[in-house]
Amino acid sequence: MSSSTELPPSVATDAAPLLQLDDLAVHYSVAGRLGTGRRLLKAVDGIDLEVRPGECLGLVGESGCGKSTLALAVMGLVAPTRGHIRIAGQDIGQDARPDRKAMARTVQMVFQDPYASLNPRQTVRRTLADPLRLHGVSDAAEIEHRVAEMLARVGLRPEHAGRYPHEFSGGQRQRIGIARALILKPRLVICDEPVSALDVSIRAQIINLLLELKDELGLSYIMISHDLGVVEHMSDRVAVMYLGRIVERGGWREIFENPRHPYTRALIAAIPDPFRLHAATARDKAKGEIASALNPPSGCHFHPRCPMRQDRCTVESPRLDPVTAGHGDVGHWAACHFADRTGAS
């Protein structure tokens, strides 16, 4: 559990993926100013991704990259415009209307803000017991037992069950949020920035807890975060998104030690890390601001900010192609015309 050596990921690489996205796209129609004309917001635009049982997939990106929309689509809360979402073998694509209760027992979510994510008028017991009742557990003793067991699992005491959210600190609230996400025994948990709203001295507690629970319960995570340190620490594989597309994905080692997309390099260069051996070079840094997803740049969406842009990048959209044969079948893919030139220097 707290071993100091790197164990091989507990990923059954040959197992069927728990979650599979094929060419997933979610487009919104947005009204223009004064209601004149509608424009298309391509929040998620053609994404292939899979999460295997027991795996933690890190999803990295900045505002407007589409990671939140992706999460909503996976949970069946927004319908895809195009493509397929298969969870545990079931297709919940655009025509198959998902059964929300069955979905609830498969995919759950841990939220960013522990203050807004708990109903202030409900005790912890009610927050945890209501979903059980809704999903057909009617025996009061069993409900009480499962609530107590779940509280113990996330590091809370049984007497906490009778309390209201305002009686807890931020870290404890996040533990309650995690307990709520796990009470229905889901297989996939989407963690949306689960520590970024917490005090710095509390974050390690929650990160450790999430990793322990993953191993004990055999969970899969999609770990959405902009904190690359957290993503590197927790993920087995990492996908980097920019303006609705995946620009690079691969095993955590490939992404962090040998990033091939200039945007990934810019992200890493932007982390203020006093332990870094050599300061980030200007070659890695991104310029300017993220464009609006309503009006993304032509060609490669990153080209206006890219330190190694060529003419080709402004017209031709790069495909997500394999850059090397990765370790095992994990693979390393990047969407850059010059991915071969951006290798480790």
Partner: protein, 326 residues
């Protein structure tokens, strides 16, 4: 005797006035910032770092009030100055930028006018001259096509652009000290990196000192020469930035550094369980007796529970407040 430092905060106490009693939200805080120096104040929410910054700006409002100590700008006490004089200091000699520029900018006024206002108010410039200088100021913070941008309203700009405008306003009159309270927390990381570089370059060029307030130890250690770590209203440790990361002396700082999953750590050492700091940050009304960190500290002994540790000087002019430091 050498010249006084640019800013000297000595034994500062800030009270939170409650219904029936007052609590010391900040107590015994002392630090000095030299001309052109970069100084970081790090801590978690509620540790008192932001209200320390506000007290320097003379911006504390009820129920917060300075309860003791001194704030000196080049040897002159400023905490007791009449409001009019403090207002004159703000903007001209001390400037501040905030976490959310949208709340600090006037939404009904073009950004160029808000910059120009600084020249008119503090330097007696005429509006047309001030307008030209506003364009120049926007160019300096690297806003593209500044001639057009001066006419934009704050809501038409992105978060990063707004923070650039805030920096332009703050640095307009060439202040001696820039107080930056979490200036990049609301921004995306790649934008954050650019803003930080910009701030650092402009201040270095103008000889402006920076007091950087942040919860992000890594960010502060990257920008600042010296760093003070605050916990529960006290400075628990102050050191040079690289030393605070490599040889932290206070158990709290040590815990923070060890608990951060740093990039590259997993490749170097494998996935280790992160060191945890037990418990939670106490509320202002419930600060423990003795050392305020003692309930969460694995080194705490009886003396820590009764006696508030005094500041022990460290080699390079730093200090640590712990009975069992090192």
């Amino acid at each position: 005797m050498s010249a006084p430092p640019l800013l000297e905060v000595e034994n500062l106490r800030i009270d939170l006035l409650g219904d029936d009693r007052r609590h010391a939200a900040v107590e015994g805080v002392s630090f000095r910032i030299g001309r052109g120096e970069t100084f970081g104040l790090v801590g978690e929410s509620g540790c008192g770092k932001s209200i320390t910054a506000l007290s320097i700006m003379g911006l504390l409002r009820h129920p917060l009030a300075i309860g003791g100590g001194a704030i000196r700008l080049e040897g002159q006490e400023i905490q007791s100055l009449p409001p009019g004089q403090i207002r004159r200091l703000r903007g001209s000699r001390i400037a501040m930028i905030f976490q959310e520029p949208m709340t600090a900018l006037n939404p009904l006024s073009p950004v160029g006018r808000q910059i120009a206002e600084m020249f008119v108010l503090h330097q007696g410039a005429g509006w047309s001259e001030a307008g030209d200088r506003a364009v120049e100021a926007l160019r300096q913070v690297r806003v593209p096509s500044p001639e057009r941008r001066v006419k934009d309203y704050p809501h038409q700009l992105s978060g990063g652009m707004r923070q650039r405008v805030m920096i332009a306003i703050a640095l307009a009159c060439g202040p001696d000290l820039l107080v930056a309270d979490e200036p990049t927390t609301a921004l995306d990381v790649t934008v954050q990196a650019e803003i930080v570089d910009l701030m650092r370059e402009l201040c270095a060029a103008n000889g402006t000192a920076i007091l950087m307030i942040s919860h992000d130890l890594g960010l502060v250690a990257n920008i600042c020469r010296r760093v003070a770590v605050m916990y529960a209203g006290r400075v628990v440790e102050e050191q040079a930035a690289d030393a605070i990361f490599r040889q932290p002396q206070h158990p709290y700082t040590q815990g923070l550094v060890a608990s951060l999953p740093l990039l590259g750590g997993r490749a170097a050492h494998g996935r280790r369980r992160l060191a945890e700091i037990a418990g939670t940050v106490p509320a202002i009304s419930a600060y423990p007796a003795g050392c305020r960190f003692n309930p969460r500290c694995d080194r705490a002994t009886d003396v820590c529970r009764v006696e508030d540790p005094a500041a022990t000087p460290l080699g390079d002019g730093g200090l640590v407040r712990c009975h069992h430091h090192g």
